[in-house]
Structures are given as structure tokens and as C-alpha cells.
């Protein structure tokens, strides 16, 4: 009997809980924010890829602010899921650093606070990275400020270039030159490969492959991001380049299932000629004592492309300390914070500061600093399922086309699946 009562109680309890869960995001009215200096504490979430500098950055902030911030690092692979779960139940942080490609999704779902007023009042508003600004807005409301930036470029091994009879100061600038250089390096010996990429990593390739498409004058999404354009001829050309390098034997088989874990070790082993990566890899490369150069990712017949990646920083809906949260978000774009970040691997998000605090660190950095200005980013609320998902249509298309060979079929399938995701919203 006890049992039955408990059973009924459980059902009632579950319904009651659903009712509260259905309430969605309440809170949010943190009272009229006053002009006095904000106080209290705030919690900040960041991803593990930022653990190298995040806690130091927060220390810097805490040293001369009344608000005291505390940072929590979340595994990147589960970040969206965790922030989503927490925000949907109102137990999220006050501030979060978010990979900018996810910003439209969180903004559209109501997880981020409107900070339009504050953003518009910034004196250096127009100098902020254009791509970051575009992704921080949803339906003309600003939900985030640029925080860290990252651009993609091609790393190449100067020693191998020399050995293969190529000019190490003249890296390839067209598809044909890439293929040719890769072939020559491959010819150095059975251990040597011309090129590698992360063939099973969606996020890596949106960062490192789409620049080929952009530089060729194409795109992967239409201007209004309502239509996928994975079947465009510029995508075909770029896939054809990779396919050719694969059939030439210039790409190691490890690339086929590389989820991003092998690209750097392969390059630092000194036996791979070229690989596209971000500025984040510079310190690793320098430590590995590879004699490398950095050059823009080319299009089919020249031109250059880059992915403007990085993070934006937002106030999360339901924060109990809105004034404090906003204060940190604003500070994060100021010179003090950006200078610190520049020394720790991030390209500054302010074009007015790039020359002064970033390019001075060395020639490699200067390349990324320049590319930041031309970088693009796909804007979509379904960016994650289409591009970053390692089982999504984007990486499946690349993998099927490059290693399978039927480029047209791979593109058709990819296009269809991506469009279905956009339409299904």
C-alpha cells in the first residue's frame, strides 16, 4: 500500500515539476541598474581551450574592481550542451564566453541579455571585429561583445620546401601551386607528406576549409543564411584540390579519421609540408623547433581567405548581478584586457589595437593580425548541427568527397542534409 501512495505522489510531483520547468526563463529583472560602481560577485564560464589565460585574466580584473569574478572552465566538446541545460533552468553563470559561431543560436533562444545600449555607447564600437559584431546581433539587437579572436592561415615547413627545391619564401598562392608543392614534398621519401588536414573534424574544417571557398569567391551559406550553398562550384573546386592531393598520395591516411588530434603532431614531426591552422598553434610550433612559415589560405586562382573565429562574451539571462556582469563584459574589450589576451595567443578583437599590441610580437603574428580584418564567419542558428558537429553534413561531405571520390554525390547529399537542418530550424 505504501508503495501505491508513493507512486501516485511521484506522478504528482513530476507534473508539478514540469509545470515549474515550463515556466521557462523567468528572472532577468535585476532591478533598475544604478550608475554607482557595481559590486558583488559574478561567475564566468569559459571553455577548456581558454584555460591558459582565463583565470589570469580574471585575476587582472579582480585586482582593481569592486566586482569579484570567479571563472569555471567547461570542456569545449560539451560546452553548448551544458550552457543550454543550465540556462534553460536558470542556473547558468552571470557571464559566459561563447564561441562566436554559437552566438546566434543562444541569442535566438533567449539565453542572452540585450546589451545594445552599452555596446552602442562604446567609443571604439566601429573598430571591433566586423565578423564578431555580425554574429553578436540577432534581429538588430546586440547580445554580445567581441572577446577573443582567431584567424586561420596555412602553416608550411620551410625546411621541407627547401629540400624539395621550392622557394621557402614563396609559399603557394593558388590551388595548382599547393598541389604541386605537396607532390614535390611527398617525393622526398615514403615518410614525407605534402599536406594534412583534420578529415573527421567539422569545426576544424569550417575554420580551415571554408577560407578556400571564400577566397575563390564562393560561400557555404547564402547572404540571408536561409539557403545552404554546399553544392556551389567554388566548393567543388576546393574539394577537387583535396581529392587530387589524396589520390596523389600527398595526404597521410591518418587524415581520414583525424578529429583534430593529429594535425599538429604530424606537422611538428617535421615530415608534413603544409597544414591549415589558427594562430593558437604558433607557440606549439615554436616549441617543437620546426622552421615554419605562415601564409594566407589561397583561393583557386589566388586571393586570400580566412575564418574569423574566436569568442564573444555575453551576459546570461537570469543573472542576479546584471550591473557586475555588464561591467566585466565591457572591461573585456578594453585595452588592458585585450593587451593581456594578445600576449596569450588571441588576436585582438579591436582593429585599432592590432598594430600596437599584437603585430609587434613577430612576423607570424602579423600575418594573423592582418587576416583578422578580412576573415569571415558563417552566420546561422543551426551552425552547430551543420558545420561543427563531427557527424554533421559538412564534414561528411568533405570526408566522402576527398576519400571516396564521388564529389558530386557528396555535395548533393551534403546540400540536402544542410538545407533540411536550416528548414527544420
Amino acid at each position: 500500500m505504501r508503495n501505491r501512495v508513493l507512486g501516485v505522489a511521484a506522478v504528482v510531483a513530476s507534473l508539478a515539476m514540469l509545470a515549474t520547468a515550463c515556466g521557462g526563463s523567468e528572472g532577468g529583472d535585476a532591478g533598475a541598474s544604478s550608475d554607482a560602481e557595481p559590486t558583488g560577485t559574478i561567475s564566468i564560464w569559459a571553455r577548456d581551450s581558454q584555460q591558459g589565460f582565463m583565470s589570469e585574466l580574471v585575476k587582472l580584473y579582480n585586482a582593481n574592481h569592486k566586482v569579484q569574478a570567479k571563472v569555471t572552465i567547461i570542456p569545449a566538446s560539451s560546452f553548448v550542451q551544458k550552457l543550454g541545460t543550465a540556462a534553460s533552468s536558470g542556473s547558468g553563470p552571470d557571464v559566459s564566453s561563447i564561441d562566436l559561431v554559437y552566438a546566434p543560436y543562444f541569442a535566438s533562444a533567449g539565453a542572452l541579455e540585450d546589451i545594445t545600449e552599452m555596446a552602442d555607447a562604446l567609443p571604439y564600437k566601429d573598430a571591433l571585429s566586423p565578423s564578431h559584431r555580425r554574429l553578436s546581433a540577432y534581429e538588430d539587437v546586440t547580445y554580445a561583445l567581441p572577446f577573443t579572436a582567431e584567424a586561420s592561415a596555412m602553416y608550411y615547413n620551410k625546411d621541407l620546401f627547401k629540400k624539395a627545391g621550392l622557394d621557402p619564401e614563396k609559399p603557394p598562392t593558388t590551388f595548382a601551386e599547393i598541389r604541386d608543392a605537396a607532390k614535390k614534398i611527398r617525393a622526398l621519401g615514403s615518410d614525407y607528406y605534402g599536406f594534412t588536414f583534420a578529415g573527421a573534424c567539422g569545426g576544424c574544417n569550417v575554420f580551415e576549409f571554408t577560407p578556400h571557398v571564400w577566397a575563390s569567391g564562393g560561400d557555404v551559406l547564402s547572404e540571408d543564411s536561409k539557403t545552404a550553398t554546399l553544392d556551389s562550384p567554388q566548393v567543388t573546386d576546393a574539394l577537387q584540390l583535396y581529392r587530387d592531393m589524396w589520390t596523389d598520395g600527398s595526404i597521410p591516411s591518418a587524415a581520414k579519421n583525424d578529429a583534430g588530434t593529429q594535425q599538429i603532431p604530424l606537422f611538428t614531426s617535421g615530415k608534413v609540408g603544409m597544414t591549415p591552422l589558427g594562430a593558437f598553434a604558433i607557440p606549439t610550433m615554436e616549441k617543437a623547433k620546426v622552421n615554419f612559415g605562415v601564409t594566407p589560405i589561397p583561393g583557386k586562382d589566388g586571393s586570400e581567405g580566412s575564418f574569423a573565429g574566436g569568442d564573444v562574451i555575453s551576459v546570461i539571462t537570469g543573472t542576479k548581478n546584471e550591473a557586475g556582469a555588464k561591467d566585466f563584459v565591457k572591461w573585456a574589450t578594453e585595452e588592458e584586457a585585450q593587451s593581456f589576451l594578445a600576449k596569450n595567443g588571441s588576436v585582438p578583437v579591436r582593429t585599432d589595437l592590432v598594430e600596437k599590441i599584437y603585430n609587434t610580437q613577430g612576423e607570424h603574428y602579423a600575418v594573423f593580425g592582418r587576416l583578422m580584418g578580412i576573415g569571415k564567419t558563417p552566420y546561422s542558428v543551426v551552425e552547430n548541427p551543420i558545420f561543427n558537429d563531427n557527424n554533421g553534413p559538412w564534414i561528411k561531405m568533405i570526408n566522402d568527397a576527398v576519400f571516396g571520390g564521388d564529389i558530386a554525390a557528396a555535395q548533393a547529399n551534403g546540400q540536402k542534409a544542410a538545407q533540411a537542418l536550416i528548414d527544420g530550424g
Binding site: 505504501r2 508503495n3 508513493l6 507512486g7 505522489a9 511521484a10 506522478v11 510531483a13 513530476s14 515539476m17 514540469l18 515550463c22 521557462g24 560539451s78 553548448v80 550542451q81 543550454g84 541545460t85 540556462a87 534553460s88 543562444f106 535566438s108 533562444a109 533567449g110 539565453a111 615514403s190 573527421a200 597521410p252 591516411s253 591518418a254 581520414k256 579519421n257 578529429a259 593529429q262 603532431p265 543551426v382 552547430n384 548541427p385 558537429d389 563531427n390 557527424n391 554533421g392 561528411k396 570526408n399 566522402d400 576519400f403 571516396g404 537542418l421
Partner: protein, 279 residues
């Protein structure tokens, strides 16, 4: 005395379970508003080729790995049955990987099989089984074999122990009596030992089949669903719908679907167990 257990299971298992049913009747995004859509999610699941493929792959995996675990588990149990001290030592060694977590085991084997830098890859290359340029995780069957090797290594010890307990419950006299009656070693195993082992076999079967149908970690870590999404299991697909596409309602419907399949399969196996109880 059972009430603490009832309260725990009721609150933290039954309630979430009922909520899962409830959510499955909604269009329920991770963030934002949800609305009631009745059985639409279920209808969609029936016509979802991606889930169909995942289900098929899960069944394939279960069909391949179950007999492997079974035969090896039984073989090991027969081996360590001897009444010598060394048998106990070997039994402990065979069981040791059981205490390692699935995630830790997967990471370990992922490294073992990496192209070029992986020690197991290196051994296979020296043995002439793989090419120096090849990549174990790049082919669906080789990747699957690698996962199966890892799972076998990790769980066969448990199967061995369960089967051993069954073997030891069979009185020696029964087998010996058969042998005196002139039955050969193989015959007495086939006609005496195996039938008497049936309750244990059924139990082992239920555990191993349920475990295989719910496989997730090992594929998530070792193959990432690749190559070309060919190794996505049912739970993997639920995970993707819920936490990558954020369609909690649809993910919940798929879960309910999978639960139903599991219930049928397990009930069938339980029946097997029940029947043998009367012997």
C-alpha cells in the same frame, strides 16, 4: 526496509522517466518555448533514415559481439576452473580490466590503435597485418573490430566470472556419471553441462545484450561515429538529437522507442530464464 530504495528509485528514476514520456509528446527545444504536438515525434522517428541506420548498426554490433563475448567468456571460465592456485591468479588477471571505466578504456585503445604512433598498430604492422600507411579507424569494419576488441578486453572477465559461478553450481557427480556412462568429453559438455548452465547463460545474455544495445561511450570516443557516420549507435543518435540539435522532444521519443525495443528483447530473454527455472 525497502522504502529508502523505493524513494530513491521513484524520485530520481521513475519521475525523470515519466517526464521523458511527457517531453516526447512535445516539440521541446533545449532553450525557448515548447509546444504539445502529440505523437508527431514518434511518427517522425519511424520515417527517420538516420535513426533507422543507427538502429541497424546497433543490432549488427550486438549480433557480432554477443557470441564473441559468450564463447570467450565460457572458454575462459573453463580454463580457470582448475583447482590449482595459478588458476585463481589468471582469473584475477582476466578480470582486471573490468574495473576500468568505459571512457578510460576507450581512450587507452584509441591510442593503441592510432596510425603510426600507436603501439598496437605498430605490432600489427610488424606482423604484416596492416600497412604502414593504413588507418584502422578509417574503415568501418576495422574500426568496429577495434571497438569490439576493446569491449571484449574490458567486459569478458565479468562474463567469465558469471559463467564460472554457473559452472560451479553444477555438481561434479552429474558430469562424472555421464562420463561413466560412456559419454565423451565433448558430448557431456554439450548434453549435460550446457543445458544445466542455461539459467546462467540467460542471465549473461540479458546483461550483455542490454549493454550492447545501449552502447555509446566506446563509439563516441573511439570512432566519433565515423567513418562517414557509419558507426553511430542508437544511443549516440539520441545524444545527437538531444544535445547537438537540441531537439529534446524528439530525442525523448527516440529513447522511448529504444526502451520499447529493449523491453521486448529482454522480456523474451527473461522468458528463457523463467522456463529453465522449472527444471
Amino acid at each position: 526496509m525497502a522504502s529508502p530504495a523505493i524513494i530513491l528509485i521513484g524520485t530520481f528514476f521513475l519521475v525523470p522517466l515519466i517526464m521523458t514520456f511527457w517531453i516526447s509528446l512535445h516539440n521541446w527545444p533545449l532553450l525557448g518555448k515548447h509546444r504539445f504536438i502529440g505523437l508527431d515525434n514518434y511518427q517522425r522517428a519511424l520515417n527517420d533514415p538516420a535513426f533507422g541506420t543507427a538502429l541497424k548498426f546497433t543490432l549488427l554490433y550486438t549480433l557480432v559481439i554477443t557470441p564473441i563475448l559468450f564463447v570467450l567468456g565460457l572458454g575462459l571460465a573453463m580454463l580457470v576452473r582448475r583447482k590449482v592456485r595459478a588458476a585463481g591468479v589468471f582469473q584475477s588477471i582476466f578480470f582486471m580490466p573490468v574495473c576500468i571505466g568505459f571512457a578510460a578504456g576507450s581512450f587507452l585503445w584509441l591510442y593503441l590503435g592510432q596510425s603510426q604512433i600507436g603501439p598496437l598498430f605498430d605490432l600489427l604492422r610488424r606482423a604484416g597485418i596492416v600497412d604502414r600507411d593504413s588507418n584502422i579507424f578509417a574503415g568501418m569494419w576495422t574500426a568496429l573490430l577495434m571497438v569490439i576488441a576493446m569491449v571484449t578486453w574490458k567486459v569478458v572477465g565479468l562474463q567469465m566470472l558469471l559463467l564460472l559461478s554457473g559452472l560451479q553450481s553444477i555438481p561434479d557427480e552429474v558430469v562424472e556419471a555421464a562420463r561413466i556412462d560412456g559419454a565423451g568429453r565433448w558430448q557431456s559438455f554439450l548434453h549435460i553441462t550446457l543445458p544445466l548452465l542455461r539459467p546462467t547463460l540467460a542471465l549473461v545474455l540479458v546483461f550483455s545484450v542490454a549493454g550492447s544495445l545501449l552502447a555509446f561511450d566506446q563509439f563516441f570516443i573511439m570512432t566519433g561515429g565515423g567513418p562517414s557516420n557509419q558507426t553511430i549507435t542508437a544511443v549516440y543518435s539520441i545524444y545527437r538529437n538531444s544535445f547537438i540539435s537540441f531537439k529534446l522532444g524528439y530525442g525523448a521519443a527516440l529513447s522511448v522507442f529504444l526502451m520499447a525495443i529493449l523491453a521486448v528483447v529482454s522480456a523474451f530473454q527473461m522468458l528463457l530464464l523463467r522456463n529453465t527455472d522449472h527444471h
